[in-house]
């Protein structure tokens, strides 16, 4: 914690404030899923939301996506206090969400999925314009999709994630919420998606990303917000050690990860000490 206060003002985010939460609480009956959450996200910034199971990450994302309504607290989006009654309200404000299960139609091709529900010229679909726009979106992300005229069923997990992210960009949102974007992916595909997240950020969008994988989080996040039992439990920067992160996530300073880390440090110091 001491280290955290030291470094909190080290990086001043470049972009304007996109989203600011103050005192957000959400309870389901007697259970408080979220208590007094504060969170700021700026344009051109990737904020990672980490925490153990049941820490409230998904509840927080669903609150931002308009699926849940907070019981207390204020959400300020681009300087305006907002209330989101349903998912389409969030979408119209400029908050796009990519859920963990992606929600793509496997029997439709890439273009049809990107434009699903928002087709151009409803009575005589403008396939050419839709295909061009799809390629533009994918190329802006430097995405590697061989063809946009093949069904989603023939794409790999990483490519599907790419299509889902490209679709969320169609309405030109200001903030993108990614729920476990790398959870089901292999090494190369994970790297591809992490590149993608950086490119989305470089376009000046704010990104909130939920992840369990500390390596992925440290690879792309500008700030790491830890939740524990529905409360803020510290803000870290990518150079934080695994030990610090795991400690904040679990609330314990002593566990197998920290023990091993300690052992390694001790061995290192020993070997360094051994060579004059």
């Amino acid at each position: 914690m001491a280290r955290m206060t030291e470094t909190i003002d080290r990086k001043t985010p470049a972009g304007e404030m996109v989203l600011s939460l103050r005192g957000i609480s959400k309870s389901f009956g007697a259970v408080s899923a979220l208590t007094d959450i504060d969170l700021d996200v700026h344009a051109g910034e990737v904020v990672a939301l980490v925490g153990d199971n049941g820490a409230g990450k998904s509840t927080l994302v669903k609150t931002l996506a308009g699926v849940h309504q907070p019981t207390a607290g204020t959400i300020t989006f681009r300087g305006q206090p907002v209330t989101m009654t349903d998912p389409s309200a969030a979408l119209n404000l400029g908050i796009a969400t990519v859920f963990q299960d992606l929600a793509l139609c496997e029997n439709l091709d890439v273009v049809a999925n990107i434009f699903l529900g928002r087709e151009l010229k409803p009575m005589q679909l403008d396939e050419t314009a839709m295909e061009v726009r799809s390629w533009t979106l994918l190329n802006e992300l430097s995405a590697r999709i061989p063809s946009v005229r093949i069904p989603i069923a023939s794409l790999s997990g990483g490519q599907r994630q790419t299509v889902a992210i490209a679709r969320s960009l169609l309405l030109e949102p200001k903030l993108i919420l990614l729920d476990e974007p790398t959870a089901a992916l292999g090494v190369a595909q994970t790297a591809e998606v992490l590149n993608l997240i950086e490119r989305v950020r470089d376009r000046g969008l704010a990104v909130i990303m939920i992840s369990h994988n500390m390596e992925d989080v440290r690879a792309v996040a500008d700030r790491i917000v830890v939740l524990r039992l529905g409360r803020n439990n510290g803000v870290f920067y990518p150079d934080a050690t695994n030990q610090e992160l795991v400690g904040a996530i679990t609330g314990a300073v002593d566990n197998s990860v920290t023990r091993r880390e300690d052992r390694r440090h001790a061995e290192q110091q020993l070997s360094e000490g051994g060579q004059p």
Binding site: S88, C105, E119, S147
Partner: protein, 419 residues
């Protein structure tokens, strides 16, 4: 960053051809190779039903040459049109992954309504037909209500509908049991005799080719403008010419007898309209999406309930229209109308034609191809003077083969990475 380097290296590549991993074929030979490739990976399209039809026709023609006479084929087209319209409605509900088992009863009920209102009550025939189709729509919206609001599976809702609607049909026909429609009236003539003038049939047979050519040329120019790859002009001209040639030969052959029935023209017109609606409109895209992944469609902002409702209503309305057509074909509205094998023939036609029972895959032409297969079997066995027992068994076998081909093709598609 690698993307930028690549873009600079190949500034002239087309938008959709910049990925070096993608195989693409050019020209007419390429189109043929791509087709073979598609079939080998299990994306069969209409191929099995066309092959099956050729097989069935060869067998029947060798057993009885009358089968392929133009007179018999014209009769075949008359018979196809009634159940074919019902099958077109089944394609709609199958697209969203649901089923309507009551189409037979609805068609019988519709014919009873027309008989009662027109013959017994003296309504104008057009009003009576509209009333029958409207009642069909009402039944469909009831199914939609049961499905959307009360979560009743369409299988059960329409199964109870099958009985209830059959009851209503028997009720309004009353004790007489059947109503004869007057011979010589326009409606009965439409179902039994009216054919297109020869010249008009030839002109109409050119229309699909011209439309293909026109839309093809327009697509080419628009895609070239947008820096996308475009199909070659040659392959489009070839396809349009082949289509026109086949249609003209069919018209020429059938014109040796009476000609193309207007009723079949109505059926084909409806099929083409449905094909456009399913492939080129937002509604059709939503239907496919709901059939493929309902939750994804809902999250994309599609009003899923409205899509289901449109499918059920359209299916019931087409079933009612099919009932009206079969009443005009038989010149009567009887207690037997719509019973027996009408239900299963309509569903089997859609499935044999290539529409998946599991939703999200299919097209309007499957109703046309499937019903021609089923009616060919019925017609051929009648010509051979074989009983309906054999007809049921053979139709059942063909349906089983169609479903087996579909599931094998699906397995192959999955392993070849096609949806």
């Amino acid at each position: 960053m690698t993307g930028n380097v690549k873009d600079n290296a190949f500034p002239a590549t087309m938008l959709d051809r910049s990925d070096e991993r993608l195989k693409h074929e050019a020209g007419i030979g390429g189109a043929v190779r791509a087709f073979i490739d598609r079939v080998r990976s299990g994306d069969l399209g209409s191929l099995p039903v066309v092959v099956g039809l050729a097989l069935i026709w060869t067998v029947f023609a060798s057993l009885n040459p009358i089968f392929l006479s133009s007179n018999n084929l014209v009769n075949l087209l008359f018979d196809c049109s009634t159940v074919g319209v019902i099958a077109l409605g089944i394609v709609c509900v199958l697209m969203v992954g649901e089923i309507d088992l009551s189409v037979g009863s609805i068609s019988g009920f519709a014919s009873a309504i027309v008989g009662t209102l027109w013959v017994n009550q003296g309504w104008p025939v057009v009003l009576a037909i509209l009333a029958a189709v409207a009642v069909g729509g009402l039944i469909g919206s009831l199914y939609a209500l049961l499905y959307n609001r009360l979560g009743m599976p369409s299988f059960v809702a329409t199964l109870s509908g099958l009985l209830a609607v059959l009851g209503m049909q028997l009720y309004i026909l009353g004790s007489t049991g059947s109503i004869n429609l007057p011979y010589g009236s326009a409606m009965v003539n439409f179902g039994q005799m009216l054919v297109m003038p020869r010249l008009l049939a030839h002109i109409l047979a050119v229309v699909p080719g011209v439309v293909m050519l026109w839309t093809g040329v327009r697509t080419i120019s628009r895609r070239r403008e947008a820096n996308l790859s475009a199909p070659s002009l040659g392959s489009i001209v070839l396809r349009a010419a082949a289509t026109t040639l086949v249609l003209e030969i069919i018209v020429l052959y059938l014109n040796q007898d009476r000609g193309i029935p207007w009723m079949f023209g109505l059926f084909v017109g409806l099929v083409m309209l449905m094909n456009y609606a399913l492939t080129r409109t937002q509604w059709g895209r939503s239907m496919t999406a709901v059939g493929g992944n309902r939750e994804a469609a809902r999250r994309a902002g599609i009003n899923v309930r409205r899509i289901y409702a449109s499918a059920f209503v359209l299916c019931s309305m087409l079933a009612a229209l099919g009932g009206v057509l079969s009443a005009s074909r038989l010149a009567s509205a009887s207690q037997q109308a719509g019973t027996g094998d009408v239900n299963l023939n309509a569903i089997a036609a859609a499935v044999i034609g290539g529409t998946s029972l599991f939703g999200g895959r299919g097209n309007a032409y499957s109703a046309l191809l499937g019903i021609i297969v089923i009616q060919s079997i019925a017609n051929g066995l009648t010509l051979l003077d074989l009983s309906s027992s054999l007809r049921y068994m053979i139709t059942g076998g063909v349906l089983a083969i169609a479903v087996i081909v579909d599931s094998l093709a699906r397995r192959s598609r999955v392993s070849h990475g096609r949806a």
